[in-house]
Symmetry: C2
Amino acid sequence: MSKSPSLPASLKQLLIKGDELFLPGISVDCVIFGFHENSLKILLLDIADSNKWSVPGGFVLKNEDIDAAAYRVLKERTGLKDIFLQQFNVFGQPNRIEASAHKATFEQYGTKLSKDHWLLQRFVSAGYYALIDYTNFTVQNDSFNSLNSWIGIEHLSKLSFDHDHDSIVKKALESLRTQLAYLPIGKNLLPKKFTMPELQKLYETILNKPLDRRNFQRKMLSFGILNKLNETRKGGAHKAPYLYTFNDKKYQKALKDGLYGSW
Amino acid sequence: MSKSPSLPASLKQLLIKGDELFLPGISVDCVIFGFHENSLKILLLDIADSNKWSVPGGFVLKNEDIDAAAYRVLKERTGLKDIFLQQFNVFGQPNRIEASAHKATFEQYGTKLSKDHWLLQRFVSAGYYALIDYTNFTVQNDSFNSLNSWIGIEHLSKLSFDHDHDSIVKKALESLRTQLAYLPIGKNLLPKKFTMPELQKLYETILNKPLDRRNFQRKMLSFGILNKLNETRKGGAHKAPYLYTFNDKKYQKALKDGLYGSW
């Protein structure tokens, strides 16, 4: 029998002081989306190389705002601040007991959780999704010995997920698609300057269906959230396409009032 | 000194078995909207006649889905099933300690909560809003000796609220207004048949501003969610206005895809 690796400090803290530091029964889960080379990707982690994927999550400090806890988790994973973060659902099904996942995490270090340990109770989780600029950061592994990877959404069906993290990812993707119907998107997923075909590709990728080029452009321009630049994308065989950027003020207003304006 | 009234059974259960029956640190709060005589009303309660208003809420049973808990609370208050219920926000600020409210509730019965009682811990609350048919039910008082009242939103600023329930109501109203920009509304707030002016009045009331009659009608009809009936509202001095009903199938689709259709 091989000797178990020693328990990382962060897990040791959870084991001994978790119930003192954190709220009981509440966690946050973050679905982090990035867009790269025409693929919508999600940052997933394979906790301790177990081949069971999950989304980054964490607990809420006893004196911490729950939104702040989600930001903290994101910052720990990505090093990024100022990202678009949206609370999208509370996962409170009684059967989503995370106990088995917590158990497994500790067992690989040869540590058994006591039967009444707070990590073995029922957790209700607040789900957040984040849109980040893929090119703007490097994936960091965390102190729990987990592998962080960007996985294209086209590969999700092939993965094996930890407890109910498949439904968390599915619901986040659904919320993102719904958001397309009435809110602007793209600001955090695309570089500052982009072409209309690049924006269309983002929509097509999220919706997983092709869109008509002319209708897309007409609809997109009608929202008034784009600034057309006097600049084209150089290189490429075709006529160089114009570059656009988002009009910050109008983008923010549309995020608040909806793309079609308020009544 | 007058003798305190005796503790109602429901409170007694909370006092003695609360930590055994319910999840720690999680509650649900329900903002119930109704529309009557051109006024948008919220069902509020004055717990034990304290002159501090709050929205109906409750705890989550150890083996209960959190959405189911919100439905249960609503059913207890209104007797209604099948109502439109929407999770809109998680209230997880560390300073929203409900301890003082819980303390006060018990103190009026001469009961002091022990310092480490589970009712005195920090609670994170999932906020839901519900739209119900005002004419379809009678307000029921509950076993906590609370007065349930419909309060028109125009009177909210004059009320004194329990801990952070003013911000819960405010956020629910904000979410409802945002919803108007991209989702249909009215199905649960209006009677089955209604006139265009009645529908417009609902929008004007929620938005708290007058809308142009022609623009409203044109926009509303363009969504394709209404069926015009071959029937008019009788009585009244003016030309009798036509009655409409919602097209159920298209209404449900618009609730899912947004009023302006999907991409």
